[in-house]
Symmetry: C3
Subunit: 347 residues, 3 copies
C-alpha cells in the first residue's frame, strides 16, 4: 500500500524527451514525454480501449497515437480521435497525472488530482541554486522503497557498508539526536575531532593527519524524501557554534527521492550537491558516478534484506536506539496510508 496523495519524482528532466518513456509508478503504468513546446506530460500508459501501452505508439506533435488501433490522446488525456469512427465516446480518455517540473525533477501526483497543490512539492532548491552544483543519477531499487528510506535515516551503516568511502569507525558512535516536527523528522549526528572519512578528505582536500569535526543532519519528509546535510570542518574550528557552517566549510547535501514502482521495487533519484570549487565541472561528473557506485552497495543490501524478509516466518526485528528515526518514519507513512483509505471509504 502506498500514499497516493503525494508528489513523487517520476524522472530527471533530461530523461524527458520527445521519445515516449514508460515507467511504472505505484503499480500503475505511466508514459512520460515532452510536448513540442517542451512541456512535460505524464499519461496512463494503458489505452482506455484495449490496454495497449501508449509508449509503444507514436508521438505526433503533442498527440499520442495508440500503437494498436490508432486512438489519439492529447496531453490532457482526452481522446480526440478514434480512427475507426466519427464519434469519440465521452468516456474515452486515459488518466493524465499532474506533473510539475521543478529543481530538475519531474514531480508526479498519483492520487486525487484535485489535491495536487504544487506548493506541497518537497524542496530540493539546491539543484537550481547558483550557489550550488551537483552530480545526480538514477538507480533501480530491488526492494520495497521503505527499506531504502530506512537506510538513509540510519547512517550508522556507513562504517560497515561503505568503509572505503563514507565510513569511519567512530561514526557509528557519533552524537545523535532525533527531533520531530509534525510529520517531518530530523536526525542529527556530530562526530567531533576524528580523522575525516575518505570521501570527505578527498572533497575537502584535508591534509594528512588533520582531524575534523563532521556533521550529518538528515531531514525526512513523507513519504520518501531524505536530505542529508553533511560536511566536515577542521577540528576545533567552532563548527557547532555557528549557524552558517554550510557556507563556511566543505558542505554537501545528499538529496534522495525514492518512488515506489511495485511493492518490491522502486525508483531511486538522487543527487549530491556541493558549494565549493563551483568552477570545476569534473566534480559534478565524479560525484554522479561515485555516489552511484556507493549506492550500488546499498542496492545489494536492500535486495538481500528483501529476500530474507520474504523467507517466512521472519522473526520480529530487534530495535536499537538508532532506530528511533525509522520507527517514527514507518509510523507516519502507515498512518498516512490508513488515513487515505478511510477517506476513500468515507467518500
Amino acid at each position: 500500500m502506498f500514499v497516493r496523495n503525494a508528489w513523487y519524482v517520476a524522472a530527471w528532466d533530461h530523461e524527458m524527451t520527445r521519445t515516449m518513456m514508460r515507467r511504472i509508478v505505484l503499480d500503475e503504468p505511466v508514459v512520460l514525454f515532452r510536448t513540442t513546446e517542451g512541456k512535460a506530460v505524464a499519461l496512463e500508459d494503458r489505452c482506455c480501449h484495449r490496454q495497449a501501452p501508449l509508449s509503444m505508439g507514436k508521438l505526433v506533435g503533442d498527440i499520442v497515437h495508440c500503437p494498436y488501433h490508432g486512438l489519439q490522446f492529447e496531453p490532457s488525456g482526452a481522446c480526440v480521435k478514434v480512427p475507426s469512427q466519427d464519434r469519440v465516446p465521452a468516456s474515452a480518455k486515459v488518466k493524465s497525472y499532474p506533473l510539475v517540473e521543478k529543481n530538475h525533477w519531474l514531480w508526479i501526483w498519483m492520487g486525487d488530482p484535485a489535491k495536487a497543490d504544487p506548493a506541497l512539492i518537497e524542496d530540493f532548491h539546491w539543484l537550481d541554486d547558483p550557489k550550488w552544483r551537483y552530480g545526480g543519477n538514477y538507480l533501480h531499487v530491488p526492494s520495497n522503497y521503505l527499506l531504502l528510506v530506512e537506510n538513509l535515516l540510519d547512517t550508522t551503516h556507513l562504517p560497515f557498508l561503505h568503509p572505503e568511502s563514507l565510513g569511519t569507525g567512530s561514526f557509528a558512535r557519533s552524537e545523535f539526536d532525533v527531533t520531530r516536527e509534525g510529520d517531518r523528522i530530523q536526525v542529527s549526528r556530530y562526530d567531533m575531532d576524528k580523522p575525516p572519512a575518505p570521501f570527505h578528505k578527498q572533497m575537502g582536500e584535508f591534509p594528512d593527519g588533520l582531524n575534523v569535526d563532521r556533521w550529518q543532519i538528515a531531514h525526512f519528509a513523507p513519504p520518501c524524501f531524505v536530505k542529508l546535510d553533511v560536511g566536515s570542518a577542521p577540528a576545533g574550528s567552532g563548527m557547532r557554534q555557528v549557524t552558517d557552517r554550510g557556507s563556511r566549510w566543505m558542505n554537501m547535501w545528499n538529496l534522495n527521492a525514492i518512488t515506489p514502482e511495485t511493492e518490491k521495487t522502486a525508483h531511486y533519484f538522487f543527487a549530491q550537491a556541493y558549494n565549493f570549487k563551483l568552477d570545476q565541472q569534473w566534480i559534478s561528473d565524479m560525484l554522479a558516478k561515485q555516489v552511484h557506485d556507493i549506492f550500488l552497495q546499498d542496492m545489494a543490501m536492500v535486495k538481500a534484506q528483501q529476500i530474507n524478509m520474504d523467507l517466512r516466518p521472519t522473526p520480529a526485528p530487534v530495535n536499537l536506539g538508532q532506530d528511533k528515526a525509522w520507527v517514527a518514519m514507518r509510523g507516519i507513512v502507515d498512518r498516512l496510508v490508513k488515513e487515505e483509505q478511510q477517506q476513500a471509504k468515507a467518500a
Copy 2:
C-alpha cells in the same frame, strides 16, 4: 477457464513424427506422436504411476515406455505392461485424447470423449483443396488466447500495427458490418477505391497508381477460430456485386486457430491460403515467413496488453463501435464455459 468440449488444433501434421513431442494444452500435458502406421496419437504426458512425462521415454513400435519405471502404454492409453510385476492394475492408464488429422492439422478434444464428434471440427478445407495452396506456421502466444482472437476480429488495427504490410490509412474507416448466426460471428469490411495495401499490391501485382476495392470478411467460430476471406480487385470492377469474387480476383484466406496452453499463454496455428499462381511454390514459402513476421508484431502487442492487464486495478475498457464483434465473441465463450460447468455440476 476454458471450453473443454471442443476441438482444438494441437499440432501441424508435419510436426507429428515418430519422435514424441510434449505440448501443454488447456493446462494439461500432452504427448504427441505417430504409430508405425502413421496414425497420430495424443496421450496425457504424465504417467499414471508417478507423473513422469512419457515424452521423456521411448516409443517402441506403437508402445510408449515411461522413462521412469518402464510402464508401457498403448495408443488407447491403457497400460499393457508393468515391468516390475505380472499384474497390470485395471486403473493403470493415461488419458488418450480423441485426435483427428484433418486439413493438415491435428485436432484434439480435451473434454468428454463421448462428445468428440469429428463432424464438429471447424472447416479448414482450403489447406487440402487442390484449387488452393498455402503457407503456414506456428507461434507461441505470450498472452491469454482470447486477446489474439480479439486482435483478429478487430482489423482496424492493421493501419497502426502493420502499416508497412497490411494497413492503409483508410482501412480503419472501411464499411463495417457484424452479423451473427447462432454462435458464429461474421465481420465484413469493404474499403472501396483506395490504393492497395503493400502486401496486396505485392501479391496481386497491381500496377503503380491503380486503386482497388478491398474486401475482408472475418468468420469467427467458437472457441478460437477466425478465418479471414481477404482480397482486392481493381476499383470499379464490380467486386461487391458478384458472389464468386474469390475465384475472379486475387483472394486469400487467412486461417487462424489459437489453442490455450495456460491462462496466460497459447499456441497459434495459422496459414495463408491463396488461389493464384498455384504453380509457384515460392509463394507458399514466402507467405509462411511473411505472415509469421507480421504476426510477431501481434505477439508483441498481446504480450504488452497482458502485462498492462496484470497491473491491478485495471480500469474498465471503453468499447468502440468496432468492438461489437469481440464483445459478442467474449459473451459466447463465457456462456459456453458456464454451460459446461453447470453440466459438470449437474452430473
Copy 3:
C-alpha cells in the same frame, strides 16, 4: 511442511571453512562457518536487527560482524556488541542451530534445540570407517525432497532411467520384500544369476559372460535418509546364505541425505562407499564423479515430475506393488509433521 525436530545434513565438512557460506534449510537462511579452532557453527543468516544476511559480513576471529550496522555475534548467536551504543539489548541474538560434525557431514537441528540429542543422528559410519573408502558429492534438487526419497526407495527405475550404468532388464522383477521396524523401512531386492549391471561389472571386474547374484537392501530412516547396501557376487556362490556377504564380495553402500531447502527444492548429499581396492585413490574420485552424473538423470526426472504435479488438477497416482515402501515412507513423514504441529499447538 517439514519435520523440524530432526537432524539434517547441512554441508560436507570440506565445504565448511573460514569463509561464511549461506544455505537455506527448511525455508530458513543459515550461515555456516568454522571458528578459529575449527569448530563448525550454524547461525541464522538474518540479523536480528534489520534482517541483513550475516554471510555478507565479516568473520573476525570467532565473531560475525553484520555487513549492515556492524552488530557482532558470537557462535552462540548472542549479540556481543552494537557499535552504535553501549547497551546490547537482551533480545539481540540470532538463532544458533545445534550443529554436529560427524562422518564428514555437518548435522543441523532446525527444531527445538532442547530436543537436539546427537545420539539421534543417523548412522553413516562408512564415511569414517578405515575398512571403507568413498566418493561423495552434492547436488541441488529441483523438486520437493520427498520425490527424491521415493526415487531411492523404488529402484525398479534403474533399468529405465540408468540403463547404461545401474540397470539390467531383469532388475525390475527382482525378488522384493518390504519390512518395517518402527519408523524405519527396509526394502530388500535380490536378482539372482543374471548378467551384472555395467557399473557392477566395472567395479567388480567380473569377466565377460559371468552371471552374478545381485543384492540391494535399501534402509530408510525418517525424514530423508536412504542407505543402499548393494553388491554382486558370482552366481551360485551362496551370497544369500551368508550374513557377512559385504566383506566377502564386492560391496558398496550408496549413502543419501536429502535436506529440504524450500517446498520445491532441496540439497542432496550423497556418497558411494566401497570396501575393496582401498589402496586405489582413483576409485573414490571416479565414484564421486560417476554417481554424480548418474544422479543428474534423477534430478532431471524429479524436476519433470514436479512440473507435471504443478499442472493442476493432477490425477491421483496409481500405486503398484513396488510402491509399498514409499507409501509407508510418506505416511511416516506426514505423521511426524502432524505430531509436531499438534505439540506446537498444545505448547
